[in-house]
Every structure is written in structure tokens, then in C-alpha cells.
């Protein structure tokens, strides 16, 4: 590269896979051309580009944690303007692998809430599945109208030191973040206009159209022109930006639970200024615990009384179906490769991370002995909560987790800490690029015609030097993800 190299001095970490650079000063073969373009643009006032990107996001209201206090403080999801690259061939392979995994998880859910073959023959332990916090007995025997349970999935992938993609966890309930994928793209197109035009990057803006098509495709039988709505907890919810984004880009009205009611005929209606109108498909962005107070929380003022009844009767489609949490439980995760073999008769295409189940005596003993090396996670938490990063933990944190594991072993699993791959990321204080660890959450939509994968997905980046935690609640940010065309 030339002397005006914006990446001059960038040094990948010795023990991690760098997404862009094979070694200092040498971009990976598939990215040489794009790295040169970005480098040329970056050399001139990168700090300015970063500030411009942040200003755009704030002005457009691409924010979270709105109204955390009375003055309505808002924050943008921290954004790093240098995109993460994925080569065409690599993405093609990932796409096939993700579809395989989603097909198996979908079949697993139908089986668990149906005939339970996989439990009956012991391939997956019955107690483990039926004892999962998010297993819903109310769903047993219900075949959702439209035939799909995992309409929208987000599969968290990481890359180890050898460059091998591994699934870290599955999100099959209400995976979030896709709006940032689209907004991040708008920003990089403005900030890196020239590079973007020449780089030949796969489009992401098809997502809302695909989502709207998917929602229509899973409407109840016999509804020719379905009415779809997006259900949000409300404008004070931290993910409200995304909910409104999904509503306005798909053309579906954005409703709150109080806008909906279930009539005497077990059909769902929305209150409009022209009176009640029937609703056919609900893309719900509220936890299932708050969906229907008649079923889940009798004391709750939230939710739509009777909604589960309407769903079980096949009068309305819920996206995603209730009960999916049984398949993304972190203690069920180790069995996904077995599910793929069981239902599809195929070898799993995606690697996993070695997982110790604390409800197994042998695993538990190992975990308790190696807390300082392992990452411990609560099986039913997300967002980086309920987690112990062993190598960075204090003795008292470890003692506290050891106690919790002994008290409630089913609730915990542990994994070795994977050396997550890194991407060059702007370090404002250093005034240059530094390696920061990333993961990738691709989004998979499944309608009547099977799965479709959004090219790329959300790249989350641990902005704190040395950190392995990419969650926005823990100092993480995001990057645009460029899947290069072949």
C-alpha cells in the first residue's frame, strides 16, 4: 500500500484472527482492492468521518434508551464507521449453513410441541427440554396457522483464532438489531461514497420488502389480503426505534397492546378511528410473558387478554410463535448438531463452541474447578446479562457464580473463552485504527417458502480495548457489514 496508507501502523493481535488483515500491512487476498480504497479515503480526516456518522445517526433519531430520565436522554448505538468485510464465497457457504440450522430448529420445535419423537428416543434429554424456562405447556399440541414457528431468527456467529465460524447462540424469540444493519448502511454509503460504489457490496435494503412478504405469506388460511401489524411495548421501550422502523418500512401499523382486543369470536381486532378492524398477522416485539395476561401473568396490566386463545384457534398468526425459547435455551444448544443429523440426515455445516452443562455432575465439577478460564452464562438470559467472564473476573465474582451454579445447576452453562476475531476499529484517543473484537448476527426470515438470509447481518464490536463483550448494554457498538459480490 501507498505512503498515504490510512491503516499504517495497524497491528492485528497475535492470538486472534483479523477479519481484514492477514498480517501487518497485508490485507487478506479477497479484500486487497477494498482495503486500498478505504485506506485512501481514511487517510484524510477519518475523525471527521466518524463524527459525521454519529451526527447523522443522532439527527435521524437512530437511538436507544430513550427517555431513560425525565429530560429524555438518548444515545445512539455506538457506531464504528469502518465496515467489516465478508468475502463472496465465504458468505455463500455461511448462507447454506444457516439455512440448514434454521430448518432443523424449526423441525425441533414442531416435534417438541407435537409428537416429541426426539425426546421419546432419547436423542435430546426430555427433562432438559421440558424443564426449560421457556418451554410453554400451553403451546403443546398447537400447530401455528401459517405453518411456521421461527419466522425471524438471529444466529450469533463468532470466528475463532483459526478463522473457523462458530455459532455462539441462537435467537429464536424476538431477535433485535436489524434496523441498525439498514441504518448503518445508509451512513457508510454517505461517509464512504466513493469506496462503496467501487467495492460492489450486496444490498441489505431488501429486508423490509422480504419481511412484509414473509408476514403476508404466513397469514391464516383463507385470508386473501391480510392485515399485519407490529406490536411494540411502546415508545418508552429501549428498542422503540427499531419497532417504528419495522412498521414504517413494511407499511404495517405500529400498535400497542391496548390498541388490540380479542372479540367474543376469538378474533383479534385493532381500534381505529373507523371502529374495530380485524387483524391477521402480529409481528410482536413484546416478550411472550406479556402477550396475554389470561395465560401468562394474571396480575399484568400489559398484553392482550385472549390473544393466546385466538392464536391457538388459528385466527391470528404470531411472529415469532410463542414457545420458541425452548430451542434457543443455552443448555439445549449443545444438541443442535444432533438435531440436524436427526431431522435432516445431514452433517452440521456450522461448528459450535464446546459447552459444559452444569446440570451434569461431571461438567459441573469441571466448571467449578476452572471458573477462571471459562465463560459462564445463564441459559435464559440475553444481552450479556447473567454472565461471568472467567479470565477477567474477580475472586468474589467467581465465588458468587459458584454458589449460584450449585444452587441452580440447570440454569448455567459454561464455555471456553473463544478468541473472537478482530476488525480494525477507529480509536478516537489514539487517533488511529486498533484491533477490536467482533461477532456477527445474520438474520434469517422464514415464510411459507422456506428461509431467506439477509446478506451480512449485524456486526457488533467490543469497543473497549481488550474486551470480549460486544453487547450494547456492555460497551459494545456496531459496524456496517459488507458482503462483497463475487
Amino acid at each position: 500500500m501507498s505512503a498515504s496508507d490510512g491503516f499504517a501502523g495497524y497491528g492485528p493481535l497475535p492470538d486472534a484472527y483479523d477479519e481484514l488483515f492477514a498480517q501487518p500491512g497485508q490485507a487478506r487476498a479477497a479484500f486487497e482492492r477494498v482495503a486500498a480504497l478505504l485506506s485512501a479515503e481514511s487517510a484524510a480526516d477519518f475523525e471527521h468521518r466518524q463524527a459525521l456518522a454519529e451526527a447523522i445517526l443522532l439527527q435521524e433519531g437512530v437511538t436507544f434508551s430513550v427517555y431513560a430520565d425525565q429530560r429524555g436522554t438518548e444515545k445512539i448505538l455506538p457506531f464504528d464507521v469502518l465496515p467489516r468485510m465478508i468475502a463472496a464465497a465465504e458468505w455463500a457457504a455461511l448462507e447454506v449453513a444457516l439455512k440448514q440450522r434454521i430448518r432443523a430448529l424449526e423441525l425441533f420445535l414442531h416435534d417438541v410441541y407435537g409428537a416429541q419423537h426426539i425426546l421419546n428416543d432419547g436423542t435430546v434429554p426430555r427433562d432438559l427440554v421440558l424443564g426449560a424456562k421457556h418451554y410453554l405447556p400451553q403451546v403443546q399440541g398447537v400447530m401455528p396457522t401459517g405453518g411456521v414457528r421461527v419466522h425471524i431468527a438471529g444466529i450469533d456467529l463468532i470466528r475463532d483464532a483459526a478463522g473457523v465460524w462458530r455459532v455462539l447462540e441462537d435467537n429464536l424469540r424476538t431477535p433485535s438489531g436489524v434496523s441498525y444493519v439498514l441504518e448503518n448502511r445508509l451512513v457508510t454509503k454517505r461517509v464512504f461514497a466513493r469506496s462503496f460504489a467501487e467495492a460492489r457490496v450486496s444490498r441489505v435494503d431488501l429486508y423490509p420488502t422480504k419481511l412484509a412478504e414473509m408476514l403476508r405469506s404466513v397469514a391464516p388460511e383463507g385470508v386473501a389480503d391480510p392485515r399485519c401489524v407490529v406490536l411494540t411495548p411502546g415508545r418508552f421501550n429501549s428498542a422503540y426505534f427499531e419497532h417504528s422502523f419495522l412498521a414504517r418500512t413494511t407499511g404495517a401499523p405500529l400498535v400497542e397492546a391496548s390498541d388490540l382486543f380479542v372479540g367474543d369470536d376469538d378474533r383479534v381486532f385493532v381500534r381505529t378511528i373507523r371502529g374495530p378492524m380485524p387483524v391477521d398477522v402480529i409481528y410482536r416485539r413484546i416478550d411472550e410473558a406479556f402477550l396475554d395476561p389470561e395465560v401468562f401473568r394474571k396480575d399484568s396490566m400489559l398484553g392482550v387478554p385472549g390473544l393466546m386463545r385466538a392464536w391457538a384457534a388459528g385466527h391470528v398468526t404470531l411472529v415469532n410463535a410463542p414457545g420458541n425459547g425452548v430451542a434457543d435455551d443455552k443448555a439445549v444448544y449443545p444438541f443442535v448438531p444432533a438435531m440436524i443429523r436427526y431431522y435432516l440426515g445431514e452433517e452440521p455445516l456450522l461448528a459450535q463452541v464446546r459447552t459444559y452443562r452444569c446440570d451434569q455432575a461431571e461438567d459441573r465439577a469441571y466448571v467449578l474447578d476452572h471458573l477462571d478460564e471459562l465463560v459462564v452464562k445463564a441459559v435464559d438470559e440475553a444481552g450479556g446479562y447473567g454472565m461471568l467472564m472467567g479470565p477477567q473476573s474477580t475472586a468474589s465474582e467467581r465465588a458468587s457464580f459458584a454458589e449460584q451454579i450449585r444452587q441452580n445447576p440447570r440454569r448455567y452453562i459454561a464455555q471456553p473463552r473463544v478468541e473472537l476475531s478482530t476488525c480494525p476499529t477507529w480509536d478516537r484517543e489514539a487517533g488511529g485504527f486498533a484491533p477490536r473484537r467482533v461477532d456477527l448476527r445474520p438474520y434469517i426470515l422464514s415464510g411459507r417458502d422456506g428461509p431467506w438470509v439477509l446478506p451480512g447481518g449485524l456486526t457488533r464490536v467490543a469497543l473497549v480495548p481488550g474486551s470480549y463483550v460486544v453487547n450494547s448494554s456492555q460497551g459494545g457498538g456496531s459496524k456496517d457489514t459488507w458482503v462483497l459480490k463475487a
Binding site: E60, F245, P253, I273, R274
Partner: protein, 318 residues
């Protein structure tokens, strides 16, 4: 399938319109009164007390600032005071909260404009401009409001959402103009000084952007009664009470056509108000000005709550 407006969203759209119009009206009132204060020979309180009365804030303001009314204090109070529900900073924040709630229903441009106004007013730049260039400060708020009104027309679908925003704008406008006239009408009772009289009525016209339109309709006739009649009854002036009420009725009638279950009581009530204004005799209007303006203020307020019961609560027809 297109869906009629969700009732709750309809309420937010209506209030979005109301708050933007309110911010505009407050900024106009403060800016014009400031200029008027500069020209006035009498005590400053004579100019500013009516403003505090017009905003309905007389009691809380006096409690906070006893003694003579001071212009700078009134401006700060009506611009920045977090305790005052009508302060500009709170009005703009309320407008933006409603815009956030209807983010999926308006347009990107409408959201961006209101968000930009809020970020500016709530941040250091707004304070700085207020301290350095007061006129520019108010003017900026007025221009943002006008930008927003233009953007609703030029970037939103011309469907129910637009009618709901404008129903809010127009009902708020009718009430604000009525208050602006009434407060000066009060202040002038018993004043014999013709020069002061004319000056104040010209100021009222300026508050309503009506100075030049009035001059074209009634050249050289800027008396109190003529100005009042113009702002009350001129059918071609977009900030007259008659215009605002007529257009508000037209919007509501489109939203709730005959035969739809919700909103019919509101339509009937607004139609009655419209008919009553249309039937006003200009001479009688000048004589009973205060009673007429009070009726307009009361009716626009009553319509606000009736619309909730009748339309926005979503209970009618359910």
C-alpha cells in the same frame, strides 16, 4: 391492506399539530411583544402582563416572580421554565414526544425537522442564540414550525394522518388567535390614547402574520374594531378564527364521514361552531368581542376533550 388510523396514533398526531402550532404562537407572541416593549412609553408591565394572562400562567408566574412584571423575566419564564407547561422548551419537547410516538406514520423529513429543533433548543446552541440574538432565536422557532407545516403537506401522504395533524394545528390556532385578540381587547378597555391603541392593534396583527394582509384589505384603517373583525372573520386569511375553524371542520368531516361510528358528536359540535361564526354580524362582532372570543376559546378546549371520548380513545364502536 390499508388500515384506518389507529385511534391512539390519531391522538398523538392531533397533539403533534397542536404543540407545533403552540410553539409557533408562543414564539410569535414573545417576539412581537418584545418589539412593542421597546416602543412603549408606559411601564413595561403594561405590555407584558397581558402576555402572562393570555398564556393562562398568571397565578404560577406571580407566585414565582412577585412584584412588577419584568419583560426579560417573562421571556425566560415562557421560554425555558421547566415548571411551566406552556414554556417553549416543554412545548417543543412535547411536540417531539408525539412525533416519536407517530414516527412510523409521519415522514422521515417531518421527524428530522422536529428532532433537529428539539436538539437545538435543548442543547447549548439554543441557549447561546437566546442570549446573543433574541429576535433570531424566536424567528428560528417560527421558521421551524412553518418548515414542519410545509413538510407535512409536501412529504406525507394526504390521508388521515395529515388531516389529524392539521385538525390539531387549526383548533390550536383558533384558540391562540382568540386569546391574543382578547387579551389586548381587555388591556385597551378604557384607554383613550389613539396612538397607543393603533400601535397595540398593529402588534396583534404582527403576532398573527396579519399586518400586510390586513393592510391590503383595509388600507389605512387600522382601528381596533377593524383589526378584530379581520382576525375573527376574514374568510381568506389563513390565521383568522373563521378560516381555522372552517378548515378544522373540513378535516374532521373527511376523517369521520357520515355513517362511520366514531367522531360524529365532534363533527356536529365543530359544525355548530363553524355555522355560528359564519352567521356573526360584523357590527355585533365588534360590540360583543369578548363574549365571542371567550366562546371560541371554550369551544376549542371542549372539542379537545370531546375528540378524545368520541374518537381517539378507540372505544366508540368497539
Amino acid at each position: 391492506m390499508t388500515t384506518p388510523m389507529i385511534a391512539r396514533i390519531a391522538d398523538h398526531l392531533f397533539w403533534l399539530g397542536r404543540y407545533v402550532e403552540r410553539a409557533d404562537a408562543t414564539a410569535r407572541l414573545l417576539n412581537v411583544t418584545r418589539t412593542l416593549g421597546l416602543d412603549a412609553d408606559g411601564p413595561e408591565a403594561d405590555v407584558w402582563r397581558p402576555i402572562i394572562i393570555a398564556t393562562g400562567e398568571e397565578d404560577p408566574y406571580t407566585a414565582r416572580h412577585p412584584g412588577d412584571v419584568d419583560g426579560e423575566e417573562v421571556e425566560r419564564y415562557l421560554t425555558w421554565d421547566e415548571a411551566s407547561p406552556v414554556s417553549l422548551v416543554r412545548t417543543v419537547r412535547a411536540a417531539r414526544e408525539n412525533a416519536w410516538a407517530v414516527r412510523s406514520t409521519t415522514s422521515l423529513e417531518v421527524w428530522q425537522a422536529i428532532n433537529e429543533l428539539h436538539l437545538w433548543l435543548d442543547g447549548p446552541d439554543g441557549r447561546r442564540m437566546f442570549d446573543r440574538s433574541r429576535h433570531e432565536f424566536y424567528r428560528r422557532i417560527q421558521r421551524f414550525a412553518q418548515l414542519l407545516f410545509g413538510l407535512t403537506q409536501s412529504t406525507m401522504l394526504h390521508d388521515q394522518a395529515l388531516d389529524l395533524v392539521w385538525l390539531g394545528v387549526l383548533l390550536e390556532r383558533a384558540g391562540q388567535v382568540a386569546r391574543a385578540i382578547d387579551v389586548h381587547h381587555h388591556a385597551l378597555m378604557g384607554q383613550a390614547d389613539q396612538a397607543v391603541d393603533a400601535m397595540i392593534w398593529l402588534a396583534v396583527l404582527r403576532v398573527c402574520s396579519g399586518y400586510e394582509p390586513f393592510a391590503r384589505r383595509r388600507p389605512g384603517q387600522a382601528t381596533g374594531p377593524n383589526v378584530a373583525e379581520f382576525l375573527l372573520l376574514e374568510k381568506d386569511f389563513p390565521r383568522s378564527i373563521r378560516f381555522a375553524v372552517s378548515e378544522a371542520h373540513a378535516a374532521l368531516a373527511r376523517l369521520c364521514p357520515p355513517g362511520t361510528p366514531a367522531g360524529q358528536r365532534s363533527v356536529a359540535r365543530l359544525l355548530t361552531l363553524r355555522g355560528w361564526i359564519d352567521a356573526l354580524d360584523p357590527a355585533a362582532a365588534q360590540r360583543d368581542l369578548h363574549a365571542i372570543l371567550t366562546h371560541v376559546v371554550d369551544e376549542t378546549a371542549a372539542l379537545g376533550s370531546l375528540l378524545w371520548d368520541d374518537l381517539f380513545s378507540g372505544r366508540t364502536g368497539a
